[in-house]
């Protein structure tokens, strides 16, 4: 039996004499059931560093596109980019991008959607969503700018893959 830790409690490991955050306590588990005390489980930070960096705004996801056939393309981005959503426009300079409502497939590493031709030239980008509240809270959210990924463009007539268009990051 072990002492129960506190939710969120950090687990440090010594790396060249520097204590680094390696995990945070989430719960305790014994013999198939969760109980207070005993074996404490912690989330490994290494599995969430990209997500953390993305939420903090220090890591902006990349968007890729590849043609499937003459009228279909697959657009893909990393699964850790949970605070971003896919948008599309016919004009890369537009200030009025439209959200792609198709629910992406997610294998835990990447998300993707298949898109079909509707106009000769089409752009997609990932746009950071406004910060959410949680539970019953009405939090104002940080006032930092909301970045977007670089846009990718598909010229349906040529089916050019992964043409990156510089844009704000």
């Amino acid at each position: 039996m072990g002492s129960p830790l506190d939710s969120g409690e950090p687990w440090f490991q010594n790396v060249n004499r520097q204590w680094q955050l390696a995990a945070i306590s989430t719960g305790v588990y014994i013999e198939g059931n969760w109980v207070l005390g005993s074996l404490t489980l912690a989330l490994r930070i290494t599995r969430y560093n990209d997500w953390i960096d993305c939420v903090m705004g220090t890591l902006v996801p990349a968007l890729s596109i590849e043609s499937v056939d003459s009228a279909t393309a697959r657009i893909e981005w990393p699964s850790w980019a949970t605070v971003y959503s896919l948008q599309t426009s016919c004009d890369v300079a537009s200030t009025n991008w439209t959200a792609v409502t198709t629910q992406p497939t997610d294998d835990g590493t990447n998300k993707w959607v298949f898109v079909t031709q509707s106009v000769p030239t089409q752009f997609w980008r990932l746009a950071r969503q406004p910060p959410p509240g949680a539970s019953s809270t009405t939090l104002s959210g940080p006032a930092n700018a909301l970045p977007t990924s670089k846009a990718v463009v598909l010229l349906w007539n040529d089916l050019l893959p992964s043409v990156l268009v510089p844009e704000s990051e």
Binding site: S3, D6, W11, Q18, G27, T40, A42, L43, P131
Partner: protein, 208 residues
Amino acid sequence: MLSAAMVFAPVSRGEVFSDAAALADAQPFAATNECFLPVGAFGLLQSGSWNAAGTVELIDQNWSLLTGHQVNSQPFDAVRITFRSPAGNSILARVRADAIYVHPGCSDGFYDWGDDITLLHLAAPIANITPVVRFRGVDVRGTTYCAGGFGCPGVAGLVTNLVYDGVKRAGMSVSDCFGGDSALPGQGRQYVGAEFDNPGSWRAIPRE
């Protein structure tokens, strides 16, 4: 786990370690005060009162890290984090969060919270505490960890004996299980597990 009404009390005992490197040589798995300064208390404003709801880490001047169930498991009106001096008798920083990012993979189940992780964006930066450094290497089974926070020193496994007294403590243990072990819920690839034996591995955080 969660303390409903945590009180803060000064650390009543401890050891003096003036040199982190010397300490690391002598006790390679003992953490230092410096290590635990960015470990704070997480509070929820509920019905006009602030209640303790676990431990939180400062990972950046503007961001703190905690679990998802600390904010998902109960209603609240606001959240704040508090960092105290090693002796616990003075507040180094106290700030509210203005945004909460719960990982969308965090589930509501008590037995397995999934991607049980949350980021708080702070309403004001904390400049007088050095944030923790996140490990970016490769996790290895059998690693020795030092945990520090507001864990319970009571008799493990017995709910009635749990005493969350608001004292920040440290404990050390070697990981017993690792993500992907079949015994863990959902194969638990996100987890590492350890028994922090009571009370031998526990001690109060050393004073400065």
